[in-house]
């Protein structure tokens, strides 16, 4: 495409109170050779947009540099069709609202003006390096969903997808559907008013699944292998022997109770000490008995048995309190004189289950106390439970016929010997795990997302939850699976760059088979052949650019995002002479967190340092060390990276991007050493939305600038 570049400057929103827009126009036309450059006092208005549309129609402008607000605003307004390119130089936020305004006589501040002009240079340079995305389209997209696991979550996912008109293959390893919850005697009510227990309704879900013509059930079956990519997975099933295509996958393999044999401090080795699972099974079979066959007259439920305990499960499973409250009613129904004691650390009945808690608590024969269980002993046929720090104001001992340990949930995937998906992926056959063994990409913000595109975890395999929560979770995962299928069919990326048409494209002629991209891709999107040559599975790509940052040969690019493009932006920055004493610092900022932080600061009109030039990256994972040498060799004094928190509780949208950037910068000395510069000139900082305010980010920047002063100006200035 022959590019005809138009630069459109908005002088509204107080932009002209800080910037002399005529100066910017001169840079655009004289220096950067833009074919058209226009200023409008209200660019996003109908009239302003019409100016641009007229130029598109009459002048043939097809590449628009919008020098106005941040790219996070008015995305739909500044869209001129699939045959045009738009880049957004956010001079409102990065210049007009955060740097010095004109003085009282109306004269612009020199530094502010320089920054504005630099952004015109950078974004005209950028648009020169961008191409119109050409989508990756499968020959045919399979629109069926594979669900792994036939419990409540799996069945609900299957039903929800089927109801939405999608075919489903449901694979269950046991000989019947129902899963763990099928073994419950009664259940916590699924809807208001949440009072008392309700009969087990899992059988209803099973018959609904069995009666649904869109769902093919494979019982006594496991997954032999899965290969391919969203829209085109090839699934082989061991057991039913079936082989079929799938568009997306829901992993609903469930959880198991925590291994009670580790809880000897709670008497797990004693005769009449059992788990809530064992108790439930007894209740289901119709007879709750002690070891010697007696009906228990008193039962103690010990909550948090191995949960919220740094030596066992450090987390709260959020269901054990509900289970014990439910099971207490079994005892009370069985014998109106029997007593149920519940000893808890914290009674946790999330959300409206508070009403269930209240209803169970109302029973005069249910005795609750907060307390720490200090010993569980066998005492002549009874079990003595010592409880310290009780609400009764003293340390107590309860002698019970039966003790039930309310154990927490552990995802089935925690056992590394078991296989569930058997993915034929270069990065391994199963889902990557996070803390506590749960397969999850982002616990807090994006619950359904995983690090395997098109594969969504649902139910207790994803997070410990109760049956009703698992149903909601499963419905969500089914919708994510459908969304993935439909977006893949259109050639679009899924979360977090939803709708992006670009994907990683390596120039294999210059590839050295170093395997860095196949290893570092946070989503396992790139397979490889025996030699180590990458075999990208483009529908698995999330377009974060981590591979682009990793590639030492710099051969990976995206249609509108590439190393040359970013290098040109760096080189477009005007470097003042050393004697001007105007340092220049380049800041790469993460589009997902750091950029919104800057926008927030702009809204607050926080005064920022005028010597910084910001370049947004899709993810800091896209940082290639060549950017550092590019920047330092043109005389930029320092380089900052502002990105998400990394580590165990990372906030990176692409899971590993900010961590990988940090790792790469650990080796920056090699690059900088060649230039005989100090490695301290390059630093990475963690910035989150909480840092949007006058204290944190300006201080990070000021401290960095102060440190730079010690090293003096970059000696490469002027070369």
């Amino acid at each position: 495409m022959e590019k005809k570049i138009g630069v459109y400057i908005c002088s509204g929103c107080d932009i002209d109170k800080a910037i002399d827009v005529e100066g910017l126009e001169k840079v655009a036309t004289n220096e950067m050779k833009a074919a058209v450059c226009k200023t409008h006092p209200f660019l996003c208005s109908q009239a302003g947009l019409q100016v641009m549309k007229d130029d598109q129609n009459n002048e043939g402008v097809n590449s628009f540099v919008v020098a106005a607000c941040s790219a996070r605003y008015h995305q739909e307004d500044f869209d001129f069709g699939a045959e045009s390119i738009v880049v957004r130089a956010g001079i409102r936020e990065m210049v007009a609202w955060t740097l010095e305004l004109r003085n009282e006589e109306g004269v612009v501040n020199e530094d502010t003006q320089m920054a504005g002009e630099d952004y015109i240079r950078m974004y005209v340079a950028r648009i020169k390096g961008q191409n119109i995305p050409q989508p990756y389209l499968l020959e045919s997209t399979d629109k069926s969903v594979l669900v792994v696991g036939g419990g409540v979550a799996g069945m609900t996912s299957a039903l929800e997808a089927a109801k939405a008109g999608y075919d489903v293959n449901l694979v269950e390893k046991t000989d019947k559907l129902g899963g763990y919850a099928a073994g419950y005697k009664s259940m916590v009510p699924p809807q208001p008013p949440y009072l008392g227990v309700v009969p087990n309704y899992v059988a209803d879900i099973v018959s609904e699944v069995e009666g649904n013509g869109n769902i093919t059930v494979h019982t006594s079956s496991t997954i032999e292998s899965i290969e391919g990519e969203p829209g085109d997975f090839t699934v082989k099933v061991e057991g039913s022997g079936a082989e079929f295509k799938s568009g997306a996958i829901v992993l609903a393999a469930g959880s198991v109770p925590y291994d009670v044999s580790k809880l000897t401090h709670l008497g797990s080795d004693l005769d009449n000490v059992i788990t809530s699972a064992e108790f439930e099974a007894m209740a289901k079979s119709g007879a709750i008995k002690t070891k010697d066959g007696q009906s228990p007259k008193s039962v103690v439920f010990i909550q948090c048995a191995g949960s919220c305990d740094p030596d066992h499960l450090p987390y709260c499973s959020s269901t054990c309190c509900l289970t014990s409250l439910k099971q207490a009613s079994y005892i009370r129904e069985m014998d109106p004189e029997a007593k149920a004691y519940i000893v808890y650390k914290n009674m946790r009945t999330p959300g409206q289950y508070e009403d269930f808690y209240k209803s169970q608590q109302d029973d005069p024969g249910v005795f609750l106390t907060k307390g720490d269980v200090s010993a569980v002993k066998d005492e002549s046929g009874k079990v003595a439970v010592d409880v310290d720090n009780t609400l009764l104001g003293q340390d107590i001992q309860i002698k019970a016929d039966l003790v039930v340990l309310a154990t927490g949930q552990v995802p089935v995937t925690i056992n590394e010997d078991d296989s569930f998906l058997n993915l034929q992926y270069r990065q391994g056959p199963e889902m990557p795990e996070l803390k506590y063994g749960y397969p999850d990409s982002h616990f807090v913000c994006f619950p359904y997302e995983t690090r395997r595109t098109g594969i969504y975890a649902a139910g207790t395999v994803r997070q410990s939850m109760d049956v009703n929560a698992a149903k909601r979770d499963a419905a969500g995962a089914a919708l994510k699976a459908i969304q993935c299928i439909e977006m893949t069919a259109r050639g679009e990326r899924v979360h977090p760059r939803s709708g992006d048409m670009t994907f990683m494209e390596p120039n294999l002629q210059r590839c050295t088979d170093c395997k860095r991209c196949t290893e570092e891709c946070p989503f396992g999107a790139i397979d490889e052949n025996e030699k180590g040559t990458p075999l990208p599975k483009s529908a698995r790509c999330r377009a974060c650019g981590t591979c682009m940052g990793a590639c030492p040969e710099r051969v990976i690019s995206f249609d509108d995002y590439s190393i040359p493009m970013l290098s040109e932006m760096i080189k477009a920055i005007e470097i003042p002479e050393e004697e001007d004493e105007k340092p220049r610092v380049l800041a790469f900022i993460c589009e997902n967190d750091a950029l919104p932080v800057l926008d927030q600061m702009a809204l607050m009109r926080v005064r920022m340092n005028p010597y910084i030039r910001y370049i947004p990256l899709r993810c800091l994972g896209g940082n290639n060390l060549v950017f550092v040498s590019d920047a330092l060799s043109v005389g930029i004094d320092g380089v900052m990276y502002l990105g998400c928190k990394h580590g165990d509780d990372y906030q990176c949208h692409f899971v590993k991007g900010s961590e990988l950037c940090n790792e790469r910068l650990g080796k920056v000395q090699e690059t900088i050493g060649r230039l005989s510069l100090e490695s301290e000139r390059v630093q990475q900082y963690e910035v989150s939305m909480n840092d949007a305010g006058p204290e944190k980010l300006p201080k990070i920047i000021d401290d960095f600038m102060e440190e730079l002063e010690d090293y003096g100006p970059n000696p490469f200035k002027g070369f």
């Binding site: 608590q361 024969g365 010592d386 104001g393 340390d395 107590i396 002698k399």
Partner: protein, 402 residues
């Protein structure tokens, strides 16, 4: 381990407390808002949070030997503020009922008075006894009905006969009451040994009498602040009626001993001082009991009213009503007056004989506990009321700053 106690929750006791008025007891989740808002609780080991869990678990021994239920005046500040609507105020009242049922001597009376059925059974005794006595002394006939002027004594029953019946009944009440007090103190002394904050017994007694006469504790209540008015009316009218009874009896014996009418005999004229005291007391009692009835029937803030409460309230109400009606019907010359007076005697007998077993027993036990509280040193009231309009008076200096 030495401090560890073996607990066996007493389901029956829990059910008992629920039945005795603590129906929302199990709703408590131990947040302790109640103890914070209570205007009456002492600072150390405050109530009613601990009573709530002890009652939930049915820790009978602890509860029936506890002083704290008696330091509670059922203001219901706690019930008003309770986020779970567990109504600690009602639970404390229920615990008091349970204490009466457990310390009353003989025990079976304490149990019978808890229910309507039991109380009706107990009521049969004075009905039969007084009926038999009246018939007996009148030769099995109701001939007095035909006498032209209606006079209760000696037409229907003579004063000595009344005394022969009522003095033993009264002393039965007092003696069993004292035995109950002894049981109560036994429990209290175990739980609350005398501390250095304690007052000498005499001072504790005087202090308590002052508190009772002034209703000072009652007045600290927030939610049911004006509840002390009705109680005060009843309290003082009972004293008035006691004076009236003593007066009438004295007149009778003075004349008897003198062998002539030295002082005005009964029925007394309307403006006789003793008659005035009696009638004013009767009026005050009627207002008091009407206030209580009204509030028990129509106010939600007053809390739960169970059989045990109703029996006592109705007993008083019936005594007052029959007392007034007996006099008015007598003056009006209606023969019904005799029957009403008979009923009046039956209800008075019920009140006296079952004093320590019915809710009237609070007179013994609360008074004892209040004295013991001062004596043992548990009488360190926080004296703060967190509810609106009842804020503690600020010191002058603080006020200026504010």
């Amino acid at each position: 381990m030495s401090d560890r106690v073996i607990l066996d929750a007493d389901l029956k006791f829990v059910q008992g407390v629920i039945k005795a008025g603590g129906q929302d007891l199990k709703k408590c989740y131990q947040c302790s808002t109640c103890t914070v808002v209570c205007p009456l609780t002492p600072e150390g080991t405050p109530f009613p949070r601990k009573e709530m869990i002890n009652a939930q678990w049915g820790i009978k021994d602890k509860l029936i030997t506890s002083m704290d239920p008696w330091l509670c005046f059922h203001c219901n500040d706690c019930s008003e503020q309770c986020p779970r609507e567990a109504k600690p105020g009602d639970v404390m009242a229920a615990i008091r009922n349970m204490i009466i049922a457990n310390v009353a001597v003989p025990s079976f009376l304490g149990k019978l008075t808890q229910s309507i059925g039991g109380s009706l059974l107990l009521l049969l005794f004075p009905i039969i006894l007084l009926g038999a006595v009246i018939l007996g002394i009148n030769g099995g006939e109701l001939a007095f009905l035909d006498k032209p002027v209606i006079v209760f004594h000696p037409n229907m029953i003579s004063i000595p006969v009344i005394e022969i019946v009522f003095i033993p009944a009264f002393f039965f009440g007092i003696i069993t009451g004292l035995l109950g007090i002894k049981r109560l103190i036994n429990g209290l002394s175990k739980n609350y040994p005398k501390t250095e904050d304690g007052e000498p017994l005499v001072s504790a007694l005087i202090g308590t009498v002052k508190d009772v006469l002034s209703h000072s504790k009652f007045r600290e209540c927030g939610v049911n602040a004006n509840r002390n008015v009705a109680h005060m009316l009843l309290f003082y009218s009972f004293i008035g009626l006691l004076i009236t009874t003593a007066g009438v009896t004295s007149i009778y014996y003075i004349n008897k001993i003198a062998g002539a009418t030295v002082v005005t005999p009964t029925p007394l004229p309307f403006f006789h001082p003793i008659k005035i005291i009696g009638n004013v007391s009767a009026l005050a009692a009627s207002i008091g009991i009407l206030l209580i009835l009204g509030r028990r029937l129509f106010s939600e803030k007053i809390g739960q009213t169970v059989a045990f409460d109703w029996i006592f309230i109705l007993n008083i109400a019936l005594i007052v009503a029959t007392g007034i009606l007996a006099q008015t019907s007598r003056v009006a010359g209606s023969q019904v007056a005799y029957f009403i007076y008979y009923c009046h005697l039956v209800f008075v007998f019920f009140l006296f004989a079952y004093m320590p077993h019915s809710k009237f027993g609070h007179m013994f036990y609360r008074a004892t506990a209040l004295v013991y509280a001062r004596y043992s040193g548990r009488e360190k009231s926080v004296g703060m009321n967190f509810l609106e309009g009842k804020q503690q008076e600020l010191p002058e200096e603080t006020k200026e700053v504010a």
